[in-house]
Assembly symmetry: C2
Homo-oligomer: 239 residues x 2
DNA sequence: GTTCCAATGTGACAGTCGTCACAGAGAAAG
DNA sequence: CTTTCTCTGTGACGACTGTCACATTGGAAC
């Protein structure tokens, strides 16, 4: 399993496997080099803020290692976690392109490594390398797809139990380790944050996790989670 | 207010104001003509299905006149309305580009006029007209923004009353007619469909609309709605 | 180890809302 | 005009879950 601490520092994205796979798949080396010329690499500790909802867009962040949460806050202080971003994703894309303020806040939940590209550099880059636009379209499509899946789960899965089960299954697929016991994974978020993802209260998440543990569907120790019976979890998720 | 019946048939998109404003804004005439060469115009009655979730992508539909609903259905038959599409929007974009099946179903809710472009034609067009890719990126960004706003409202607005108030306000802005009495608009959806949009039951929507009417915040006659006190509605929406 | 603070577990209670059931209203077709 | 079907309004009731309150645990800093 990927640990937050095994950051392999790579000065050029030519050797950054995540970026190479996603943003630059099947593109010529010249395109990568042009990117290297405009990006600047930074390291961020856990809890660092990349950009805040409402700020004028400075540019995009290409997440090379580590994960970040994308949140939206209401004036009264209620926060919703819209999604988790994984290595290879480009953050701040829609704001950077449209020029409107960032509409989400990006905060690292692990130590992260990210490339930053200034807005005007990025727009010029897109014009000069039209092939990259197609990749960007693909990435936006994929993000949109997950967003629609989330809307669907909110609209359909009326109980918090269903949405939690769905989230755990999703995490199991995306970042779990299959063993004979089941699927091992480390919860990337606190109960409070999980609650903010599925539109529930912290207490409800606590109770539901306790219930799943009591039913032998999962095991918990600290932030470690073992999905012992993913079929039962699927049933609870309404799949 | 735009009526579903005043479809101005236009054989080329050079004169279709919605497409010209959105997909082709600031682009040369040659780009439009290249589009005219690959599109085919169709008329659809109310209730027509453009494409269905799970189908292999045939291509994109550019909505020229009329509105459509984009839905996602679960195996058990529960349907969620993910969003309403307005003239100028391109439907089926992400599936057409990625080649994966359509992940939503598109159905007209009014008589519609739409241009269809076959998948391979559209992909070739994007490659040959790189400027269009930037427009596509802008459009996807905007759709993503609205999707995130919807996720936020599901996560934050825990009561159905809040979400309904938010939806009515949004509709008032997008398709309402301001008069001295308030904002007039025609409800584009039935109570059942509104319920599918805000994640509630039909009965709850009925009751909540009745309550708003009783509080003099709105008036209803048939599918006509008048927002008499949009400030009060804002308060209910939690804005 | 000790201290301290954030994260978690749990009980009680009230409010929201989904579900079932049925009545009335409108609209389209004959 | 009548029929028929969809859409809408409303009551009753129970389940879910948000909120408040507090105990407990765990981990990090010293």
């Amino acid at each position: 399993m990927r640990s937050p601490y095994d950051l392999e520092i790579s000065e050029t994205c030519s050797v950054c496997r995540f970026c190479a796979e996603r943003l630059f798949r099947n593109l010529p080396a010249s395109t990568l080099h042009a990117f290297d010329a405009i990006k600047s690499l930074s390291l961020y500790p856990k809890g660092a803020t990349l950009f805040v909802e409402g700020q004028q867009p400075r540019g995009v962040y290409v997440l090379c290692a580590g994960r970040a949460k994308l949140t939206a806050s209401s004036p009264e202080g209620k926060t919703v976690i819209v999604r988790l971003a994984e290595p290879g994703e480009v953050l701040g894309l829609s704001a950077t392109i449209s020029g409107e303020p960032y509409h989400l806040t990006a905060e690292t939940i692990e130590p992260c490594q990210a490339d930053f590209v200034r807005r005007d550099d990025f727009l010029r880059y897109l014009r000069e390398q039209p092939e990259v636009s197609l990749r960007v379209i693909e990435m936006l499509s994929e993000i949109l797809r997950t967003a629609h899946a989330q809307i669907r789960s909110f609209g359909k899965a009326h109980s918090a139990a269903e949405r939690l089960a769905g989230l755990l299954l999703c995490w199991g697929e995306r970042m779990g380790d299959r063993t004979q016991e089941g699927i091992h994974l480390k919860l990337p978020l606190t109960h409070q944050e999980i609650a903010q993802m599925i539109g529930a209260s912290r207490e409800t998440v606590s109770r539901l996790l306790g219930e799943l543990r009591h039913q032998q569907i999962i095991s918990l120790n600290g932030s470690g989670l073992l999905i012992r019976n993913s079929d039962a979890l699927s049933v609870k998720a309404g799949h």
